[in-house]
Amino acid sequence: MSFIEANLRLLDGFATTVILFFSSLIIAIPLGALVCRLRLSKIKAIENIMRFFIWAIRGTPLMLQIIVIFYVPGILFNVRIESRMAAAIIAFAINYAVYFGEIYRAGYTSVSRGQRDAATSLGLSGKETFFKILLPPTVKKIIPPMTNETISLVKDTALARVISVGEIIYEAQKIVSTHAIIWVLLYTGVFYLLFNGLVSLISGKIEKRLSYYGE
């Protein structure tokens, strides 16, 4: 296998990893808000259902969840998810939405009661209180844990190989095992380092932008 051929294969894997990552992230961020909202529901039944759901998703391996989402709907309901990529994205999005939701919840509930009381006292509506007063400090508080989770997501995309989605490690391993070329592993490692470097850089910039105020 030529150097160029190997590079093209890795590039394919790289593209798949990037698509997996961004699609999962874009779905998981708002879905996490829904998880958080339902978990904070004043209706006990909804709160308990969410507790169970969070326990189930956090307590089982992501790899198992990918397998379940790809195979189980077809076996049980005859609704096959044709695209392996889509199945992987759904699994990542649900799994990460649960983690994100818990991070949002921790951030939101840690904004001091006094901020809420002041907004209420000053006659702000519920919508104004949430968007103007509670959301900005929540966002500030959740940036560091969200960065950690996002970095984990970058690395977890490698689990998509369990249903044969050709992400970068999948492609690299195929090259190593069939052509005994080792440098592709180094190449793969560097890719993850650069990608996560970029995630840290962006999060650092956001943190810096929000550092003008403190609690």
């Binding site: 901020q115 002041a118 907004a119 006292s121």
Partner: protein, 255 residues
């Protein structure tokens, strides 16, 4: 203007935080509510501002009963400006923005309530805001916060943060201004300054209610005094009761 409180009660679980409290407060005068922690002073302020809901009793301002019905809460609440113990300034906003946020919210609601058609809403809101901004500027001058108005709460000293909190509470022009333990988060040296600010508000013809356990402050500012214990008013009267208490409980508290 008179604020009349009749038989106000509030329980948290089995504990009566406020138990049949009644009193009157007049505009242009400072009413000080004194008592130990847990006597129900702060709960009283929260009920006035409807941050907590009363179990029973009536709150009457200038002959009109407040908080009758859900729709009345937002407008009735604006009759009260509350200066919190820890000021509770909004962290992400400058001092000026802290003062303007409630003003903008109020103007927006007023325009909406008046039923101004959407096409004219933006223009009318801008005009009403410009008008309000003038009085906010006067307030900023009055409370001597012009120099710090662009600073964020984190960089303000305790005294400065309190002046901003007072300006914010007054920005919507409430009839009643309430202070919750105004000296507890401040250096003791600032007590005189706080007393001066509070008494200067008499000129604005507001009803001023100050909740405190700081007797030296109470002596400096009070026109009338209420002494509370276990959610009940034990003794009330003019500032003279601070020097000449009639009940043993107040006598013990003042020692």
């Amino acid at each position: 203007m008179t604020l009349e409180i009749i038989d106000l009660s509030k329980k948290f679980g089995d504990t009566a935080a406020l138990d049949g409290v009644s009193f009157c407060a007049d505009s242009g005068k400072v009413l000080t509510v004194i008592g130990d922690s847990g006597s129900g002073k702060s709960t009283l302020l929260k009920l006035l501002d409807h941050i907590e809901q009363k179990d029973s009793g009536r709150i009457i301002l200038d002959g009109k009963e407040l908080y009758c019905g859900k729709d009345a809460v937002f407008s009735d609440r604006l009759n009260f400006g509350l200066v919190f113990q820890n000021f509770n300034l909004f962290y992400p906003y400058s001092a000026y923005e802290n003062i303007m946020i409630p003003v903008r919210s109020m103007v927006k609601r007023e325009i909406k309530t008046r039923g101004v058609p959407l096409s004219r809403r933006k223009k009318e809101t801008a005009a009403a805001l410009a008008e309000r901004e003038k009085s906010v500027r006067r307030l900023i001058e009055r409370l001597n916060i012009s120099k710090i108005k662009d600073q964020y709460p984190i960089s303000l000293s305790g005294g400065e943060a309190q002046r901003v909190a007072i300006a914010r509470a007054l920005a919507t022009d409430p009839a009643v201004i309430c202070f919750d333990e105004p000296t507890s988060a401040l250096d003791h040296k600032l007590v005189g300054e706080v007393a001066e600010i509070i008494t200067s508000l008499r000129e604005l013809d507001k009803i001023i209610i100050v909740v405190t356990h700081d007797i030296s402050l109470a002596k400096k500012i009070s026109d009338n005094v209420i002494f509370m214990k276990n959610g009940r008013i034990i003794e009330s009267g003019d500032a003279g009761i601070l020097d000449d208490p009639k009940t043993e409980e107040l006598n013990d508290f003042l020692k």
